[in-house]
């Protein structure tokens, strides 16, 4: 009896204790737990914007977003990643490349970002995983829009590609705007116009269950999709240039002389940018990186080549402008040139010599001796100053990243870079576009366009217009500068000489003469390796990678220029026979569009 009463008292006290515990949880800490409960069920989800599309000038889609399934793992939600991947590989093929990519991406991601272990799943693979999903916490099949470049290597160097955001990029981007975004433009147009293409993030407040499934949307602020870009790029020209280059490595840059719009920008070989979107396998990347042909290298804006004889019209113009030579003044070419008091023979490409040469013939036949003499009388300072106005030695300012500036040598440059004085002989070889002189294909095309425009220098650009959110299309701004006053007669004299390069009987590019329009151009050959004083350069015996680069610059039609083009064919040999026909095909495709089927 007594013990039962004791028990009753114990029961009463214990129940009161439990009630106190409830009071503590439900009343004293109510707010804390309410917050936790809300945290549990309400999630703020970023809604990534759809990336803007990129079109060429005909409206052909160059970059789009295609739905694709990927198998994603969120490491924070997956207990044992190694076993999970092992088990996954039993239902869905996962190869070594997939594993390596996963490992690499895992080191670079943000916390709670999911990373793909497999990309581009087939419908069957999606179904097979769906059946087994319960076995894999933290693993989901995600349908997402993947960037796709339908024209693959044709546009690779122009557009660049998008790839997963890495740690360094994370420091630079606006974290909240990119909260739902996994990819970012890595190079090319995709990178320059990242801000426009990306758009702004949307947000939605959703109620989720314990498995993270969204049950309903509480609040929604839709994302602002990225803006579409319309390029000047003309895929017909781009394809024609690619094709014309055949198996050669090289670059073609074509510019609309009236707008500065880049019509074609080819660097060959290219690569498939789609490989990079979800992370390229290290094996494929190694192959691309280590290839002697350097497919990842954008020759059109980063390749720096000696301009060779293509620079002669500009130097001729400099001679006329600076008054050191008149158009008809003659120089005798014996096949070599010697500085007074020096033994060294500066050779002409024609061993037997050109004989008496005035400027016109010197351009048409590309006489080196004439230009050695002209360069010497001009001097490196005046030569440098004049060529600078055409953009040699500095970046063109195109809307692409990674452009190189080339090199227009000067006394000052040599003193700084080499800590040596300038030697007179160096002026001579600069006069024929050799020596230290380096240009990029884009720079050459831009300088040619400036020549075609008789001094109006327009900054080259890729993007013609941008689709604004309000539905209108905004054209990008044309930026141009006028060269210091040049005598109009001088322009015409040089241009006429360039026209005779194609149309003259002895023109170095006479074989590309067109019946439909007039072309002004200049061939060039850039030495890759130096022939010693007592040796002969014999194309047949020189191994392929040491052969000369073939160059050609041109614009057309001469009377009313519309297009300027620069072609560089690596190890192609002679400009007139190899580079000029490529330019002709590009010009044809542009100027004879009507003839296109």
């Amino acid at each position: 009896m007594g013990r039962i009463i004791v028990a009753a008292i114990i029961v009463t006290l214990t129940l009161l204790l439990l009630l106190t515990r409830m009071l503590y949880l439900q009343v004293l800490n109510h707010e804390h737990f309410t917050t936790l409960s809300l945290d549990n069920r309400v999630k703020l989800q970023p809604r990534p914007p759809t990336r803007g599309l990129i079109y060429d000038s005909h409206g052909t889609i160059l970059a789009q977003n295609l739905p694709a399934y990927s198998l994603d793992i969120t490491p924070e939600k997956t207990p044992d990643i190694a076993t999970t991947i092992q088990a996954l590989s039993e239902i869905i093929p996962i190869n070594e490349d997939d594993r390596k990519r996963f490992k690499r991406l895992r080191q670079q991601r943000r916390r709670f970002d999911s990373i793909p272990i497999r990309v581009r799943l087939s419908d069957e693979e999606v179904a097979r995983f769906a059946v087994n999903q319960h076995r894999f916490p933290g693993v989901v099949v995600q349908a997402k829009l993947l960037r796709d470049y339908p024209l693959q290597e044709q546009t690779a160097h122009v557009l660049g590609y998008v790839g997963r955001i890495n740690k360094q990029e994370l420091q630079k981007i606006d974290a909240s705007n990119y909260s739902g975004t996994t990819h970012i433009g890595k190079n090319g147009v995709e990178r320059t116009y990242e801000n426009q293409l990306h758009g702004s993030v949307g947000l939605q407040q959703v109620e989720v269950n314990a498995k993270g499934r969204v049950l309903r949307v509480l609040e929604n602020q839709p994302p602002q999709p990225g803006e579409n870009l319309h390029l000047f790029l003309d895929m017909d020209l781009q394809a024609a240039a690619m094709e014309a280059l055949k198996d050669y490595n090289g670059a073609v840059a074509a510019i609309d002389t009236r707008t500065g719009g880049v019509l074609a920008l080819v660097s060959k070989p290219g690569y498939d940018p789609n490989l990079f979107v979800e992370g390229i396998s290290s094996r494929a990347y190694k192959t691309l990186r280590d290839s002697l042909d350097k497919p990842l290298f954008n020759r059109a804006i980063r390749g720096q080549y000696p301009p060779g004889s293509t620079v002669k019209p500009f130097i001729g113009l400099a001679g006329l402008e600076k008054g050191v030579v008149s158009f008809n003044q003659q120089t005798y070419c014996p096949g070599f040139y010697q500085l007074p008091g020096h033994e060294h023979k500066y050779r002409d490409w024609k061993k037997t010599g050109h004989g008496q040469m005035a400027m016109e013939d010197a351009i048409i036949q590309s006489c080196d001796v004439y230009y050695y003499e002209l360069a010497r009388t001009l001097g490196i300072d005046r030569l440098h100053d004049f060529l600078t106005t055409f953009g040699f030695g500095s970046r063109s300012g195109i809307d692409l990243t990674g452009e190189r500036s080339g090199l227009l040598p000067s006394r000052e440059w040599k003193r700084k870079a080499r800590r040596e004085p300038w030697y007179p002989g160096e002026t001579l070889i600069t006069g024929i576009g050799q020596g230290y002189f380096l240009t990029t294909p884009l720079q050459l095309a831009s300088a040619t366009a400036t020549l075609a425009n008789r001094g109006q220098r327009i900054r080259p650009r890729m993007v013609e217009s941008i689709d604004l959110p309000d539905g209108t299309r905004e054209a990008t701004r044309m930026e141009s500068t006028q060269l210091p006053q040049v005598d109009p007669e001088h322009w015409e004299q040089v241009i006429q000489a360039m026209q005779l390069v194609i149309e003259g009987l002895r023109g170095t590019a006479r074989r590309i003469r067109s019946d439909h329009y007039s072309i002004a151009g200049k061939t060039g050959t850039a030495q890759v390796f130096t022939v010693k004083q007592d040796e002969e350069y014999d194309e047949a015996t020189v191994e392929k990678r040491k052969r000369d680069h073939a160059l050609f610059i041109a614009f057309a039609p001469v009377e009313e220029p519309r297009i300027a083009v620069a072609v560089i064919v690596e190890n192609g040999g002679h400009g007139g026979s190899v580079a000029a026909p490529i330019a002709r095909k590009v010009l044809d495709r542009y100027l004879l569009k009507e003839a296109r089927p």
Binding site: R21, V27, T34, S37
Partner: protein, 375 residues
């Protein structure tokens, strides 16, 4: 023996009517029915309004109440006579489980008897207190040391067998039944304190014999935030459910923790968290009051029992019911480690339901088969 006379001739009027005829105790029956009703109400919410679940639970309740009514008809002297045999059979079956048992949820608990599966440990919840009560009631109380030791060994045998399955929850309940009887039998306070101290000292030894998952539960209990997505998840989510319920609750069917599946085991062991979330402190207090009423009635019946066996058994069964309640709520609210003990009469599931109501059947039998004494 109690010294109460069994030969009284003149008897006051017995209660009459259907309940009396069925040997049922009205207050107890009302309390149990109310509790079962509350249980169904909660089950409807916690089980995502699934009627099939309700139907299955109704069938179980029917069976359990049936068992209760049948046991209420048996005179306590029969039960008393069967006690040792029931205990021996129970221990044998527990041994059999070790050799022939069926495995379910990582533990060997079931014995397949061909036509139905049977959990001998569940039977032990009744057989052990009956056995100890029978044994101690033979001699004068309080028991001598030697008998106490014997009773302790009788308790320990099934408890160890059950703990080995492993089924810590049931072992705990069976052990508590034995301890309750010893307490009610009036063992000295020095012994009680000695027991408490030795239990504390045995802690590390018990730890050594625990399974990994059991150790993890204890560690999780000490610090659930250690592993919020793993072992601590249950406790954290359950505390969130209880705490966010507040004073008045989120309302029936409106608990977000349970309906959005954050709360695990929400219609079985953690159903109390659903009640707390949807009905708040007020609902919890009302529920505890209902339990309190049933326990007090059970203890009252024990005080009114006319022999030592009935008194000890009735008191122990009531206290075990309380232990159920305490361990479950303690676990769900995070003051005790997670042990698989259901909330009596409310958690979904049949086995414990039958045992609990069978216990109340015995209590009703104790109360309604009294020889009425002159007042």
């Amino acid at each position: 023996m109690t010294g109460i006379s069994f030969t009284q001739e003149s008897q006051p009027a017995r209660p009459t009517g259907l309940l009396a005829w069925l040997h049922l105790d009205l207050p107890l029956l009302t309390g149990l029915m109310l509790l079962s009703g509350v249980g169904l109400l909660i089950l409807y919410s916690a089980g995502d309004q699934e009627w099939a679940l309700i139907q299955r639970q109704l069938v179980r309740l029917g069976i359990a109440f049936g068992v209760m009514i049948i046991l209420a008809q048996l005179h306590i002297t029969h039960l008393r006579r069967w006690s040792p045999w029931l205990y021996i059979a129970g221990v044998l079956m527990l041994v059999a489980v070790i050799f022939f048992g069926q495995t379910g949820k990582g533990a060997q608990r079931w014995l397949d008897l061909g036509f139905f599966r049977f959990q001998p440990s569940e039977m032990m919840k009744l057989a052990l207190p009956m056995m100890i009560a029978w044994y101690l009631a033979e001699k004068r109380l309080p028991p001598k040391r030697r008998r106490l030791l014997a009773a302790a060994i009788m308790t320990l045998i099934p408890v160890l067998l059950i703990a080995k399955q492993p089924d810590l929850g049931t072992a705990l309940l069976v052990a508590s039944a034995g301890i309750c009887i010893l307490f009610l039998a009036g063992i000295g306070w020095q012994l009680i304190s000695l027991f408490a101290v030795s239990m504390a000292a045995l802690g590390p030894v018990i730890w050594f014999f625990m399974h990994d998952y059991q150790k993890r539960r204890v560690l999780t209990f000490i610090n659930p935030e250690n592993d919020p997505l793993g072992a601590g998840y249950h406790i954290i989510q359950s505390k969130i459910a209880i705490g966010s319920g507040g004073l008045t609750g989120k309302g029936w069917l409106n608990g977000t923790q349970s309906h959005l599946e954050f709360l695990p085991e929400r219609h079985t062991d953690f159903v109390f968290a659903v009640i707390s979330e949807e009905f708040g402190l007020i609902g919890v207090a009302a529920l505890l009051a209902l339990y309190f009423f049933i326990i007090l009635r059970g203890l009252y019946i024990a005080t009114q029992a006319q022999d030592t066996f009935s008194r000890l058994l009735g008191g122990a069964l009531t206290l075990v019911f309380f232990v159920y309640l305490f361990v479950n709520i303690g676990m769900v609210s995070g003051v005790l480690p997670v042990v698989g003990v259901p909330l009596p009469l409310i958690s979904y599931g049949g086995t414990s339901l039958v045992t609990i109501l069978a216990g109340f059947g015995i209590l009703m039998s104790i109360h309604t088969h009294r020889k009425l004494l002159p007042t």
